[in-house]
């Protein structure tokens, strides 16, 4: 029988009435690695944020060494020996390795930092991990893999019993990954406990002892790794029914309109695909599959090598302006950052990409025409707003999203790229957006829909492209696509 270090029991969490965790339990065993897996949005991060005191739980109890504990903030969980290493490392790049390890806990003697002691101690912890770096070296000068080890050294130096690693290998080279796994095995030997969050199932089979699977904020099960294979884990991660939420309409796709050949840059590698008139191509993949980066490369935000053909003609797209002129519009996944302008009103947002349509005398904007046209789109897309002069910040997420789509639509695109079109949008508005997609499709527009929501991809797409780490790992026709087949391609099972 394994000894339990941390036991989270019946944890629930609401965010303003929305349940994101429902009665979830998680055990962390001494000297053992627990994998925590699930699709994007399954509740893994929320659960870990509760354990580390970032969020407060709504219900449930946490036991540490069989004692009930409460973590009101991150400091409280740290002092009990729980450390987390985030995917995007929390190091101060312009400080030395030693300074980072002891940040906020510098050894002090009569008000002066004892630099020699600090760096000596840092050296001790680095040595434990087999890292030969000078503790005085600045963090920005060492590789990401080594930065990861510095984070682990930091965790060890606060005498962490439990170390949570969130997608630790995301930015590592294979050699660095092997090194990390050696370190994890050593940590296990010395009695530390690890929670390992990863989408890469083969890694889980390499170093984890147990697996806990979450789906839609619920616990699906805890199993020992011996009792599982990749297919079983995938089945546990997905496996839910498609509801009537997705009103896909059948259509006969026309001739090929877009062809992308061998597109490569710092994000994507040799991506090729094609798109037909009146077709909805779903693009699935996990975090780090670079789907968004691919779409932005096509849209002219990131330069890329390779060829793009429109109606059989080769085109060169160097900027969003070029792309819009060719009839390719992109609706971003990050509305606030680069989709809408919250300080401007509905009308100004909708017409921003197409102001040349409203040319009046002396080069002035004809506000009358602009007003009529934006009203038309508000109606067409049933945007709920008090009027065209309403500032966008006062609209709900779903309506902001519709404004963002309307802006692209007004440029009269032949190809509409929708990147996570239903993210941060409530259920009712989601359905409305699906209906719009179908409407565009029936009008002959071609649609590329990037989504992390697999049921959505299955429900709306005519064809599905799955990506894994910047490459296309496969295409699935509508009739052969299942959650399992998508997930299998998304974790890169066949491409390893």
């Amino acid at each position: 029988m394994k000894e339990i270090v941390v036991s989270m029991q019946h944890i629930s969490k609401d965010f303003s009435g929305v349940k994101v965790l429902k009665d979830v339990s998680l055990n962390i065993y001494k000297g053992s690695v627990m994998a925590l897996v699930g699709e994007n949005g399954a509740g893994k991060s929320t659960l870990m944020k509760i354990l580390t005191g970032v969020y407060l739980k709504t219900q449930g109890e946490i036991f540490l060494d069989n004692e009930s504990v409460n973590f009101p903030d991150t400091r409280a969980s740290q002092s009990k020996g729980i450390a987390i290493i985030h995917q995007e490392l929390n190091l101060v790049k312009d400080l030395s390795i030693g300074e980072n390890i002891f940040l906020g806990r510098e050894p002090v003697s009569s008000g002066r930092i004892m630099w020699n002691k600090l760096h000596e101690d840092a050296g001790y912890w680095l040595g434990k991990l087999g890292l030969k770096e000078d503790p005085r070296e600045l963090v920005k000068n060492i590789s990401v893999g080594k930065q990861q080890l510095v984070e682990i050294a930091k965790a060890l130096s606060i005498d962490a019993k439990v170390i949570i690693m969130d997608e630790p290998t995301g930015a590592l080279t294979p050699a660095e990954t092997d090194k990390l796994f050696d370190v994890i095995k050593d940590l296990k030997e010395s009695g530390k406990s690890i929670v390992y969050i990863s989408h890469r199932l083969h890694e889980i089979f390499e170093i984890c002892d147990d697996v806990t699977v979450l789906r839609d904020g619920e616990l699906i099960g805890e199993k020992s790794i011996e009792s599982l294979d990749e297919d079983k884990i995938i089945e546990m991660m997905v496996g839910r029914k498609l509801s009537e939420q997705y009103p896909r309409i059948e259509s006969e796709p026309g001739e090929e309109i877009l062809k992308v050949e061998n597109l490569s840059n710092q994000f994507v590698k040799e991506v090729s695909f094609s798109l037909k008139r009146g077709e909805t191509l779903g693009v699935a993949g996990l975090m780090g599959s670079e789907r968004t980066e691919l779409m932005r490369s096509i849209y002219g935000i990131y330069p890329a090598k390779g060829s793009v053909y429109l109606n059989g003609e080769k085109v060169k797209i160097n900027s969003p302006l070029d792309s819009l002129r060719y009839g390719i519009a992109y609706v971003t996944e990050d509305r606030k950052a680069n989709g809408i302008i919250t300080g401007m009103n509905v009308r100004e947002n909708i017409t921003l990409s197409s102001l040349e349509l409203f040319k009046g005398p002396l080069g002035f904007i004809s506000k009358g025409k602009e007003e009529i046209s934006s009203k038309e789109y508000i109606e067409k897309m049933s945007i709920k707003t008090s009027g065209t002069k309403q500032q966008l910040r006062f609209l709900s997420g779903g309506n902001q999203q519709k404004v963002s789509i309307a802006k692209s639509l007004m440029t009269n695109p032949k190809i509409l790229i929708l990147d996570e079109p239903t993210r941060g949008v409530d259920v009712g508005a989601k359905k409305e957006i699906y209906d719009l997609i179908n409407k565009f499709k029936s009008e002959g527009m071609s649609i590329i829909m990037v989504s992390s929501d697999i049921p959505e991809v299955l429900g709306i797409s005519d064809r599905i492209m799955v990506m894994h780490e910047g490459r296309v790992s496969g295409f699935l026709n509508r009739d052969e696509a299942t959650q399992e087949s998508i997930m299998t391609l998304a974790v890169g099972k066949d491409v390893i």
């Binding site: 935000i301 302006l321 950052a337 680069n338 302008i341 921003l352």
Partner: protein, 314 residues
């Protein structure tokens, strides 16, 4: 009723009216026709610079080089007219030069990737040096050729009862208002200042928008240089030093956000008038010039604080 509410909401306007009433009560001469014209004429130079500055601040930038552009352009205009060059040619040359310097600033910021503060700070030093080289550190008189007669009209002349610089100021306000509110580039300026990334994603070349904005700012500074030199009849090598600060103060007093995206030309006009009225009042009341800046600074800070308080409490 609605209009009254609108006015009450306009904090800068209320500050201007309150300050004017208070000053008029203290010194009735403030409201005399000739004094009002003096205030307007004195305000015109700062108002023109502040209009260009409004463009720069609206895109979330700043242009510290306006004072030195004014100095250099004034010196070149003075040299040209004193040697008898046609006034129109001199004015156009100087305006083109100011625009080019502004465009250069914009290029440093967009292509060079410099912070606007740093880029234009560098230009200040460069231009101040250029002025000293050009003038040899001595004032340049506009001379007494036929051209210089015409030239000084720009700064000292009247059209009917109103001084010519006041017409120029009004013209600048109107054109700027139309550009910002009724043209594509105006819309793009607000959009870039509010969310540059989203604007770029919408298919707008934001770098072009920025270069346009700094070019406008440079052109306005050159125009101010013409007004000042024409008014004084000579170009001082130190002319314009510190003018960027009054211009920024006018813009901010007018309610424009330093973060970009929010602000109006009307606000800037009022802001410039507040500073003009304040300068005038301090002179009327014979406050020592040492204390004038102290008083001005205090009033500016109070006005801006009042404005921010209101905005954050909504």
């Amino acid at each position: 009723m609605n209009n009254v509410k609108k006015i009450l909401k306009n904090k800068p306007l209320i500050v201007l009216i309150a300050a004017s009433v208070a000053i008029a009560l203290l010194n009735p001469r403030f409201l005399s026709w000739s004094n009002i014209l003096t205030v307007l004429r004195q305000t015109s130079i700062n108002a023109v610079i502040a209009t260009g500055m409004t463009f720069a601040i609206l895109i979330g930038g700043i242009d510290l080089s306006v004072g030195s552009v004014l100095g250099l352009c004034g010196a070149i205009a003075a040299t040209m007219v004193s040697s008898g060059t046609n006034v129109v040619l001199a004015v156009l040359t100087v305006l083109v030069l100011g625009t080019a310097i502004g465009y250069f600033n914009g290029t440093l910021i967009t292509a060079g990737g410099l912070q606007p503060f740093i880029a234009t700070l560098g230009t200040v030093t460069l231009l101040r040096g250029a002025i000293l080289v050009f003038t040899q550190g001595r004032p340049i008189s506009t001379g007494n050729t036929a051209a210089s007669e015409h030239f000084s009209e720009i700064g000292t002349g009247f059209l009917g009862p109103i001084p010519i610089p006041v017409y120029i100021m009004l013209l600048v306000f109107i054109v700027a208002y139309y550009i910002l509110n009724h043209t594509r580039i105006g819309r793009y300026i607000y959009a870039t200042g509010s969310n540059e990334e989203a604007t770029m994603y919408s298919g707008i070349k934001t770098a072009r928008v920025k270069r346009f904005v700094y070019a406008v700012s440079g052109m306005m500074a050159a125009l101010a240089g013409i007004l000042l030199t024409a008014r004084l009849g000579s170009a001082q090598p130190t002319a314009g030093a510190g003018y960027e600060l009054d211009a920024i103060a006018a813009v901010v007093l007018g309610g424009t956000s330093m973060a970009g995206g929010i602000g109006t030309i009307g606000g800037t006009a009022i802001g410039a008038l507040i500073i003009g009225v304040l300068n005038n009042a301090l002179n009327l009341m014979k406050v020592s010039s040492y204390y004038q800046d102290v008083a001005k600074g205090i009033v500016i800070l109070i006005a801006v604080l009042l404005d921010r308080k209101q905005k954050s409490s909504r």
